[in-house]
């Protein structure tokens, strides 16, 4: 017995194997195929006959994947680069958290007057938890606030899960950039007296610029790379 859905699934996995078509492309072709089959069966063709004719009209898998390859090559490159940048940004976030936590430990230990490794460990642990909780709650509330803006709400609803995760990452990143920049703000009006102070000031400025502009540049790159895909909505 001919099972149409099974055959269509097989046809789908054949197309997916070529790897030049993404899920959205295949969904679009399937929608076309089903419509054609429906029209053909209305002409009193059997499911099997209709399926054969419809797939023939749509073109063979090799030809289709060749055509899509031409279009998707640039798109795939952009996707790969944007994932790389996302990776770098995530790394920046992770190192930032590690630095913040160790800095907090040292600060707390220095000001508390308690000595001994055990107490130091407890303090470090406590401050680690606190930093994580405050950051995540703040990030969460900022995300909720963004959702409250009516225009954004509608747009975000249409995004894919991937894009949503990316947006959350961006919110945390912006928070981190502000936080990091606050650590590296050069003291205004400070006049270096000797060579060491000159070096220190130069270092402070570089660190400040680096900590602010590197994430900003990366985020701008990411947004530019992602732009053409913004309208892409998952169909299933």
């Amino acid at each position: 017995m001919f099972d149409l859905n099974e055959q269509i699934d097989k046809w789908r996995s054949n197309l997916a194997q070529s790897q030049t078509l993404d899920n959205s492309d295949i969904n679009e072709l399937e929608s076309h195929l089903r419509e054609e089959i429906e029209n053909l069966t209305a002409l009193k063709l059997s499911d099997e006959e209709a399926f054969l004719i419809a797939t023939y009209r749509l073109g063979d898998t090799a030809g289709l994947s060749d055509e899509y390859e031409k279009i998707n090559r640039g798109k795939r490159f952009r996707q790969n680069v944007s994932w790389m940048i996302t990776g770098i940004l995530t790394y920046l976030l992770a190192t930032h958290f590690a630095t913040v936590i160790s800095k907090d430990c040292v600060l707390l230990a220095a000001n508390s007057g308690i000595t001994g490794y055990r107490s130091l460990g407890f303090i470090g642990f406590g401050s680690q938890i606190l930093t994580l909780i405050t950051t995540f709650f703040l990030g969460y509330f900022i995300c909720r606030l963004i959702l409250q803006i009516p225009g954004f709400r509608k747009q975000i609803k249409e995004l894919t899960t991937r894009m949503r995760l990316l947006m959350v990452l961006l919110v945390f990143l912006i928070m981190t950039v502000v936080y990091r920049a606050a650590f590296h703000i050069p003291v205004p009006g400070f006049r270096p007296m000797n060579i060491q102070q000159h070096v220190v000031q130069a270092l402070t400025y570089t660190k400040f610029l680096w900590s602010v502009f590197l994430p900003v540049i990366l985020v701008m790159l990411l947004i530019n790379l992602r732009k053409p895909n913004l309208h892409e909505v998952k169909s299933r």
């Binding site: 679009e28 072709l29 929608s31 076309h32 073109g59 289709l64 055509e67 279009i71």
Partner: protein
């Protein structure tokens, strides 16, 4: 008489843009419309339309959106953008030049019958 492959490929962009300039539409209906207008003489391999549509989208001449039709089928609808209307105008002018050049040549052709 079927139209040659090269000619079909060359005319794909102006055809798609013209059909979309009448209103938003989806792949299957676009192919059907071309078939009707040409009395079945312009044969596209159906699947080849979509890469062309995606290229036009990449060039920001059209935009697409997944939407459910009244019958409950999910379809990707395409809509022409301002840039697309501009490109269509340019394409029209180019095709008019080709057409008028050929016509002048063929009008002077001696009649064989």
């Amino acid at each position: 008489m079927a139209i040659s492959k090269d000619l079909v490929a060359a005319s794909a962009t102006p055809l798609i843009l013209s059909i979309l300039s009448e209103g938003e539409n989806y792949g299957y209906a676009i192919i059907k419309r071309v078939r009707e207008l040409s009395n079945g003489r312009m044969q596209w391999t159906d699947g080849m339309l979509y890469p062309v549509l995606h290229r036009l989208e990449e060039q920001k001449l059209i935009q697409s959106k997944w939407r459910e039709s009244k019958t409950g089928r999910k379809r990707k609808y395409y809509k022409i953008k301002k840039e697309g209307t501009k490109a269509l105008k340019e394409q029209k002018n180019q095709w008019k030049v080709v057409y008028s050049t050929l016509r002048q040549l063929w009008e002077n052709e001696p009649c064989l019958t």
